[in-house]
Each structure stands twice: as C-alpha cells, then as structure tokens.
C-alpha cells in the first residue's frame, strides 16, 4: 500500500468510521497465530505474509468494512494456518 489512508467502517455501521491501522491488523493476526499454538518465529513470519496480502487488497479501496477486512485476512491466513484462521474469524463469536 502506497501510504494512502483507508477508512474502516466499523461493525454494523453503528460506530464511527476510523482510519486503517496496520499495527492493529498485525497485532490481531499475530495473536490468533500464537493462540493456535504457533511458535513465535513462525507466527511473526505468517503475520508478515498475511499483512502484506491484506495491504495489497486494500491498495485499490478507499473504504472497507471491518467485517470485510477480517474475512480477507482470515482467507489469506487459512491457506497457511487453518487453525489460526478459525480463531481469527470466530474470535467475536466465542461468547
């Protein structure tokens, strides 16, 4: 992504739109990988790969929903680590 800002429309459109933060995306993917029992080094590498894929996807979009962002990250993560992708996608549906 070439440094342009992307707006994230929050879940259900009920909360205010916020600017995309790569750091938050990275932290959530890393947390899912670690929760799935992935060793730290491998988790870091997977996080980098998936984050890059999501940044490419965002490159042509000025605005996306948080659900779309989560689904896209989960789709890319599932090709590398299905367990982590499962936790990433269903994290909000545990409780």
């Amino acid at each position: 992504m070439s440094g342009k800002s992307v707006d994230i429309v929050k879940r259900g459109g009920r909360r205010a739109t916020e600017a995309f933060e790569e750091k938050k995306l990275r932290a959530s993917i890393l947390a899912a990988c670690l929760s799935a029992g992935t060793p730290v080094g491998h988790a870091d590498a997977l996080t980098q790969t998936v984050t890059n894929a999501v940044l490419d996807w965002l490159d042509t979009r000025p605005e996306v929903t948080s659900d779309d962002l989560r689904r896209t990250a989960a789709k890319h993560l599932s090709t590398h680590h299905p367990d982590a992708a499962y936790l990433y996608e269903h994290h909000r549906n545990i409780l």
């Binding site: 929760s35 029992g37 936790l87 269903h90 994290h91 549906n93 545990i94 409780l95």
Partner: protein
C-alpha cells in the same frame, strides 16, 4: 428423602450447572488473550487458575447464601408449595435452555445480552493479574445466574433437609462437580492442547450440550417432584 437420593439430586443439579458454557467461554477468551499477548506460560497458568478459583468461590458463596436464606425461612420443613414451584422452575428453565441458550449464529455465542458479552470480552482482554482474573470469575458466575439459579435452588433445598453433619459435604460436592468442565479445560490447555481444537469441539457439539442440559433439567424437575410431592402424597416421605 434419604441421603443417597439427596446426593443424587445434588450431583445431577451440579452436572447441569457444569454444562453451562459462559464460564468456559470466558476462560477460552482469557487464555487466548494471554497467549496472544505473549504472556509467559507460568503467568497464563496463574491467570487462568485465578479465574477458575473465582468461579469456584462464587459458586460456593451463592449456594451457601441460598441454603442459609432458605433454612432461615423454612428450617428443615420445606412446604410442598415451594417444592412444586422449584420443580416447575426446573422444567421451565430446561425448556428455556432448549430454546434460548445458544444464539442461531456461527460460533458459540450464547443468550447473554451483547453489551454484557462485550464487557466480559473486554475485561478478559484487559486482565493482567490473578486478582483481576479472580474477580472476572466471580462476575461470570453472576452473569449466568438466570440459568444456574434453578439447579442452585433445588440443591439448596435438598441440602437444608440433610442432617447437619452432611450439609458441608453436600455443598462441597455441588461446587466440585459444577467446576468439572472448567477444570478439565484448564487442565487440557495447561497440558498443551490448542485453543482452536477446544473451541472447534465446543462449536461442533453445542447443540448436543444444549439438548442434554435442557433435558437433564426437565428430568431433574420430574425426579424431585416424584421424590418429594408424590412420595408425600403416598405417605412414604
């Protein structure tokens, strides 16, 4: 009611209590957040143990509180009307579990209002030490009282009718059995089982657990009705 029947009722009520999933969901979230934020294994164990202890302590407190209040009102002679109300409550809550316990969406989302679920989820993420985890355990037991009140009530009624020397054992048996699920999951994740495996198992079996919990409550209601009211009518109490 003899001592064996009393313990049978307490055991079944505690098993139903153990099958409710709110505490397990919060433990799953707490564990996931702790691992995800790179907390050490020892620290994660301490947090989750604090949480399980909080759940155990609050279960003990609620049961003993209910037993004390009921004993204050009825001593050891519980009126037939109270037994009838309790049996009706057990059957009614059993049906409510069948219908309402899980939401009709993916994952293991339960009936809890979304604002409360978000609060518990946020607290589990923000929990940094054992004392906070302990208080999270206390809160999660209170949050599930809508469904656990029925098994707690019937156990308290049975416990106050037991001889005084058996009452502490009755309370201990209930608390220990109601913690079985939570403790098993705590042991499983401590032994290295992945959260994703456990969560997938919970999701795949949620309808069975819902059916089993609801049915067990209804069966418990009928069993208590037969043991108390019908035997009283037949003059064999």
């Amino acid at each position: 009611m003899d001592i064996y029947t009393s313990f049978a009722i307490i055991t079944l009520a505690a098993l139903v209590h153990a099958s409710f999933q709110l505490s397990v969901s919060v433990l799953t979230l707490l564990r996931s957040h702790a691992i995800g934020s790179k907390k050490s294994h020892t620290r994660t164990l301490r947090l989750t143990f604090g949480y399980v202890t909080g759940v155990g302590v609050m279960t003990l407190l609620i049961l003993t509180f209910a037993a004390t209040v009921l004993q204050r009102f009825f001593a050891t002679d519980v009126p037939a009307l109270i037994w009838a109300i309790t049996c009706g409550l057990l059957v009614g809550v059993g049906f409510a579990v069948w219908i309402f316990y899980y939401r009709g969406e993916k994952g293991t989302s339960i009936w809890l209002p979304r604002s409360f679920a978000r609060h518990l989820s946020d607290r589990s993420k923000a929990t940094k030490d054992s004392a906070e985890a302990f208080s999270l355990g206390l809160t999660s037991v209170i949050a599930e009282l809508v469904f656990t009140a029925a098994p707690v009530l019937v156990s308290a009624l049975v416990i106050i009718q037991m001889p005084a020397e058996w009452q502490p054992l009755g309370v201990a048996v209930y608390a220990a059995i109601s913690l079985i699920t939570l403790f098993s999951i705590w042991v499983a994740v401590s032994a290295g089982h992945r959260m994703s495996e456990i969560q997938k198992w919970r999701e795949n079996n949620k309808r069975f657990l819902q059916f089993a919990s609801g049915s067990a409550l209804a069966i418990l209601g009928v069993f208590v009705y037969v043991c108390t009211l019908m035997s009283e009518m037949a003059g064999i109490a």
